[in-house]
C-alpha cells in the first residue's frame, strides 16, 4: 500500500539505501528520461551548472544538451516554450529556480497550460511538469521565501504535488512526468538534504492518495511538505505527555484525497492543519473548510490552523524563526484542542 511504502521511518521494499530528497528527484528524472525519449529537462542553469540546488546533477553529462537545456533568465518565455513543446507531444520537465520566480511565468501556467485541454474541447493535452522549490527558513528575506501552494491549488486544470519525503519526491515526480496533464511540482528547499528510502524504477506514487505518517487517536494533524516533519517532531513531544497524534500528509493538493483526511478527523474529533504559507486564503483554510463540510458532526473543537505569519518574510534570523510554524506551536495547538493545558 502506497501509504505504508511512503512512511518515512519504514524502509521501503524497493529502495536499497537511503538517498536524499534531492537525489531522489534526480533519479526520477534520469529514469524517466531513459524510459521515454520525449522527456527533456529545461531551465535556468540546469545543465552546465547542474541546477541552483544541484537537482539536475549529472543529467547534462548523461543526456547531452538536446535533452538538458539551459535557458536565459526568461521565465515567462521558456515556460511558454515548454508548454508549446508539450502541446506538440513532448514531455518537458521544467525547473524554475524557485517558486518565487514562477510568478513571472504564471500567465503561461494559468492561462495556457491549465486551460489548453479544456478551452479547445479536448483536442490537445499539455503533459508538462513544472518543478520549483519553495519555502523559507534560510534568511532569504521577502522576495525569496514564498510558498504558493494556495495559488496553484486554486487553479482547475493544474495538478499540484507537494512531496514531503524522498520516497514521494521520486515516486510522485515519476508519476507526474507520465501524467498527461500539466503538473506543478512544489519542492521544499528545506528538504533537499533530507534522506530516506526511495522506490525503484517502477515504483510510482499515485496522485490523490494521502499518506498517514503516524497513527494516533487524540488529534489529527494535517501537514504539507516540510511541515510534515515539523508535525512529526511535535507528535514526538506530545507522545511523551501521552497525547497520540495522527499525522497525515495529503501529498497532492490537486487531486485532493479528502477521504483519508476526513476519516482520520472523524476518528479523532480534532484537527490541526499546518502549512508554511500565509494564512489568508491559504491551503489550511481550504482544508479546514472541506473538513468541516465532511466532518462537522464529529468535531469536538474548531479546527486549528498553523501558518506562517501574515507578513513578507523578514531577513533577521530571530524574526524569520518567529514567522514560521514551529513544532512547539503545533504541539501547543494540539494541546489546546485536546484540552490538556498549554496554548
Amino acid at each position: 500500500m502506497s501509504t505504508a511504502k511512503a512512511a518515512p521511518r519504514k524502509a521501503a521494499p524497493a529502495g536499497p539505501k537511503p538517498v536524499s530528497y534531492r537525489e531522489a528527484l534526480t533519479q526520477a528524472m534520469r529514469e524517466e528520461m531513459e524510459r521515454d525519449a520525449q522527456v527533456f529537462v529545461m531551465g535556468e542553469d540546469v545543465g552546465q551548472y547542474e541546477g541552483a540546488f544541484k537537482v539536475t546533477r549529472g543529467l547534462l553529462r548523461e543526456f547531452g544538451d538536446r535533452r538538458v537545456v539551459d535557458t536565459p533568465i526568461s521565465e515567462a518565455g521558456f515556460v511558454g516554450i515548454g508548454i508549446g513543446a508539450a502541446m506538440a507531444g513532448l514531455r518537458p520537465v521544467l525547473e524554475l529556480m524557485t517558486v518565487n520566480f514562477s510568478i513571472l511565468a504564471l500567465d503561461q501556467i494559468v492561462n495556457n497550460a491549465a486551460k489548453l485541454r479544456y478551452m479547445f474541447g479536448g483536442q490537445v493535452a499539455c503533459p508538462i511538469v513544472i518543478r520549483m522549490p519553495g519555502g523559507a527558513g534560510h534568511q532569504l528575506a521577502a522576495q525569496h521565501s514564498h510558498s504558493l501552494e494556495a495559488w496553484y491549488s486554486h487553479v482547475p486544470g493544474l495538478k499540484v504535488i507537494v512531496p514531503a519525503t524522498p520516497y514521494d519526491a521520486k515516486g510522485l515526480l515519476k508519476t507526474a512526468i507520465r501524467d498527461d496533464d500539466p503538473v506543478v511540482f512544489l519542492e521544499s528547499e528545506g528538504l533537499y538534504a533530507k534522506k530516506g528510502p526511495v522506490g525503484g524504477p517502477d515504483d510510482l506514487v499515485p496522485l490523490g492518495r494521502a499518506a498517514v505518517r503516524r497513527r494516533g487517536g487524540d488529534c489529527t494533524v494535517v501537514a504539507l511538505s516540510r511541515m510534515v516533519w515539523v508535525a512529526l517532531s511535535a507528535a514526538d513531544a506530545l507522545a511523551e505527555d501521552g497525547i497520540e497524534t495522527e499525522v497525515i500528509d495529503p501529498r497532492t493538493l490537486r487531486p485532493l484525497d479528502l477521504e483519508t483526511l476526513a476519516a482520520s478527523v472523524r476518528r479523532t474529533g480534532r484537527a490541526v492543519i499546518v502549512e508554511e504559507g500565509w494564512p489568508e486564503s491559504g491551503v489550511a483554510a481550504n482544508l479546514a473548510a472541506r473538513l468541516y463540510e465532511a466532518c462537522f458532526d464529529w468535531l469536538d473543537a474548531p479546527i486549528a490552523r498553523v501558518s506562517a505569519a501574515d507578513v513578507p518574510m523578514p531577513y533577521a534570523k530571530n524574526l524569520e524563526q518567529a514567522a514560521l510554524p514551529s513544532p512547539a506551536q503545533v504541539a501547543g495547538e494540539v494541546r489546546r484542542l485536546v484540552g490538556r493545558g498549554g496554548g
Partner: protein, 352 residues
C-alpha cells in the same frame, strides 16, 4: 471551376501559380463573407462574448498561411477566424463554435477567441495579448527536437510586440536556431492605440535587430507580396534553421471588436485604406493577368456566400452543448463529475 471557359483562363493555366492565386482568391472571399455573416449573427445575439473581425486583413492572413505546408503548425490571436478557414477548417464547424454549439470546432467550449483545429495543425487562437507567441516557439522547439523539417508560424498584432515575452522568446529562438517565423500583422492599432503612441520605434520589424535576427516589412494588403515574404522566411527556417520576423502592414476596416464604437480612428484614414481593399486589388490583378474571368470571380463570391449560408444553417441546427461537458475536458481522466467538488477525489471504491 471549368478551366476551359475562356481563353484568358486557359492561358492562366500555363502560369505556374495560377492555381495558387485562384485558391487564395477563393479563401479571401470565404473569410470576408464568413466574417460579415458572423457580424450579423452577433447582432442577432446568436454569437456571444467578444467577436473580433479581420475584415481588411485577409491578404496578410491568406498570403502567410498559404506559403506554408499544411503540416506547419500555426498559432494566432483571438482575431483568428481567417486563420482557421485559410487552414481548411470546415466553415460549418467554425460557425458552430462561434454559436457555442456541440458541433463547433472545440465543442463550443472555446468560442470565437479560441478556435483550434489540431488535425490541420492550427494550434489555436488565444486571448492574452502576446501569450500565444511562446507556444509557437515551443512548437518550433519540438520540431527541432525531433529533427523534423516543419516550420512554426506565430501570428500576432502590433500591440503584442510590446509584451516583454516576445523579446524573451525571440532571443531564445535565435539563440537556439529554432524553425519559427514571427509574423506581426500590423493593422496599425491595438484597440484604440495607434502604433506610434505605443512603440518608440514604429518599424516594428526592427525589434529583431536586438537579437541579430533577419526581419523585413511587407505590404500586408498585397497577398502575393505577403506570400513571397513568408515563403522565403519559411525556407530560411526549414533549410537553415534561421528564425526571422516579418511585419505585414495592413488595416482592419471594423472596430477592434463588435463592441468597439471605433470613434478614435479618422474616417478619412479608413477611406484611404478601403480604397486599397485587398480583395478588390487582388481581383484586378487576377483579371489583368487572366487568371480568372469576371464570371469566375463572381462565381467565387457566390460560392463563398453559399458556404457561409450553409455554415450558418449548420450552426443554427447544431444542438446545445450537453451539460455533462462542463467538466469532461478538465483533465485527461476527470476524477469528478461534479465540478463543484473542487479538487476532491470521488470516494474510492478500490479500498486502497
Amino acid at each position: 471551376m471549368a478551366k476551359t471557359r475562356s481563353p484568358s483562363a486557359r492561358d492562366a493555366v500555363t502560369r505556374p501559380d495560377a492555381e495558387l492565386m485562384r485558391g487564395m482568391f477563393e479563401t479571401m472571399w470565404l473569410i470576408r463573407r464568413f466574417e460579415e455573416r458572423a457580424a450579423e449573427e452577433y447582432m442577432r445575439g446568436r454569437i456571444g462574448g467578444f467577436l473580433h473581425l479581420a475584415i481588411g486583413e485577409e491578404a496578410a492572413v491568406v498570403g502567410a498561411i498559404t506559403a506554408l505546408r499544411p503540416t506547419d503548425p500555426i498559432t494566432s490571436t483571438y482575431r483568428e477566424h481567417g486563420q482557421a478557414l485559410a487552414r481548411g477548417s470546415d466553415p460549418r464547424a467554425v460557425m458552430a463554435e462561434l454559436f457555442g454549439r456541440r458541433d463547433g470546432l472545440c465543442g463550443g467550449l472555446g468560442g470565437s477567441m479560441h478556435l483550434m483545429d489540431k488535425e490541420r495543425h492550427f494550434y489555436g487562437g488565444y486571448g492574452i495579448v502576446g501569450g500565444s507567441i511562446p507556444l509557437a516557439v515551443g512548437l518550433a522547439f519540438a520540431i527541432a527536437y525531433r529533427e523534423e523539417d516543419s516550420v512554426a508560424l506565430a501570428m500576432f498584432g502590433d500591440g503584442a510586440v510590446n509584451q516583454g515575452v516576445l523579446a524573451e522568446v525571440m532571443n531564445m529562438a535565435e539563440l537556439w536556431r529554432l524553425p519559427v517565423v514571427f509574423f506581426v500583422l500590423n493593422n496599425q492599432y491595438g484597440m484604440g492605440t495607434a502604433v506610434e503612441r505605443a512603440s518608440a520605434e514604429t518599424d516594428l520589424f526592427k525589434r529583431a535587430d536586438a537579437f541579430d535576427m533577419p526581419a523585413r516589412q511587407v505590404d500586408g494588403m498585397d497577398v502575393m507580396a505577403v506570400h513571397a515574404a513568408v515563403t522565403e522566411a519559411a525556407r530560411l527556417a526549414r533549410e537553415e534553421r534561421q528564425p526571422s520576423m516579418i511585419e505585414a502592414i495592413a488595416y482592419r476596416y471594423r472596430g477592434h471588436s463588435m463592441s468597439d464604437p471605433d470613434t478614435t480612428r479618422e474616417g478619412s484614414e479608413k477611406e484611404r485604406w478601403q480604397a486599397r481593399d485587398p480583395l478588390v486589388t487582388f481581383e484586378r490583378v487576377l483579371l489583368g493577368e487572366g487568371v480568372v474571368t469576371r464570371e469566375e470571380a463572381d462565381a467565387v463570391r457566390a460560392a463563398a456566400e453559399r458556404a457561409v449560408e450553409e455554415a450558418a444553417g449548420f450552426a443554427e441546427e447544431s444542438p446545445e452543448v450537453p451539460p455533462e461537458e462542463l467538466a469532461r475536458h478538465l483533465y485527461a481522466d476527470p476524477w469528478s463529475d461534479d465540478p463543484r467538488g473542487g479538487a476532491a477525489m470521488p470516494p474510492r471504491k478500490d479500498g486502497s
